[in-house]
Symmetry: C2
Subunit: 169 residues, 2 copies
């Protein structure tokens, strides 16, 4: 039986598809850029960052981690031709609220030893300070041999309280 969440998906998608007129868009992003941002429920990248359908890849993970996004970034650039990276972390991020030790302890307590073993070597990639984390991720990308030197990289903070972005680096 469909859950309420699945029913919502089907109903809202029927409305969306009924008015859909973008079936002609090509696979490679038209504006040749990619955005890395957080999975946070309070961020709507298309609306908040002005991304029109078809223009950019949008990669999202816990904390907008550049390291975690590396596979997707390489595919975006090498196979689909993107040439600019916009990285956006945000205020009030969950990743500011715990340590790796906290997360591993929670997994062991809630999910048991099998799950703890499956995740034993995992870095949850939390960070203690927001602007410093943006700078560190941009630095990681700039230093990585997997990102060509002519790819423009900038780092930003989105404020979930105001809807505003500000550039960090």
């Amino acid at each position: 039986m469909a859950s309420e969440i699945q029913k919502n998906l089907v109903e809202k998608n029927a409305e969306y598809a009924g008015a859909f007129d973008k079936g002609h868009l090509a696979l490679p992003p038209a504006k040749k850029y990619l955005v890395v941002t957080c999975m946070d429920a309070r961020i709507d990248p298309a609306a908040a960052f002005g991304i029109s359908l078809g223009d950019a890849h949008v990669i999202r993970n816990a904390g907008a981690s550049a390291k975690d996004a590396q596979r997707s970034i390489v595919i975006s650039e090498q196979l689909l031709g993107t040439r600019e990276i916009i990285l956006v972390k945000h205020t009030g991020c969950g990743m500011l609220t715990f340590t790796n030790e906290d997360a591993h302890a929670l997994v062991k307590q809630n999910l048991g030893p099998t799950a703890a073993a499956e995740l034993a070597t995992l870095d949850f990639l939390p960070f203690p300070e927001l602007d410093a984390a943006v700078k560190a991720d941009v630095e990681f990308l700039k230093k990585s041999a997997t990102v060509p030197d002519d790819v423009a990289i900038s780092g930003w903070v989105y404020e979930v309280e105001t809807g505003k972005v500000r550039q960090v680096v």
Copy 2:
């Protein structure tokens, strides 16, 4: 100097922030679910899947890979209380168009031996068949000790040609 893409971000964000009235939303997703979908430029998850701001985590990577999303999924469930997973791959996905060998050869040719060495052990996670890949990812999540048995998991395909979703599993 700001790029055209950075200028677009600043300008469109100023409009968004000017009309923003959602600064009160809480960190944990209100509807306690997460969506895993592809970074593809032709997908707007909020609009196409009916996700209101604040309701769900949205994880996006190349191919909507559940394996690649594991860190984010564990954080979403264990630290932020989500209880349902909606996984959506899509027609025309770039991940249907290459193999791991292709990607590694391309990295070596375009980026050189240092980058190739940095990515030597990376699985790019391409897949040859769409519906089978959706089923395999749902199976991966259901079997993983890191996802509790009472988390509902469903797998879907989004058609970039029509804007429609259909449930696979």
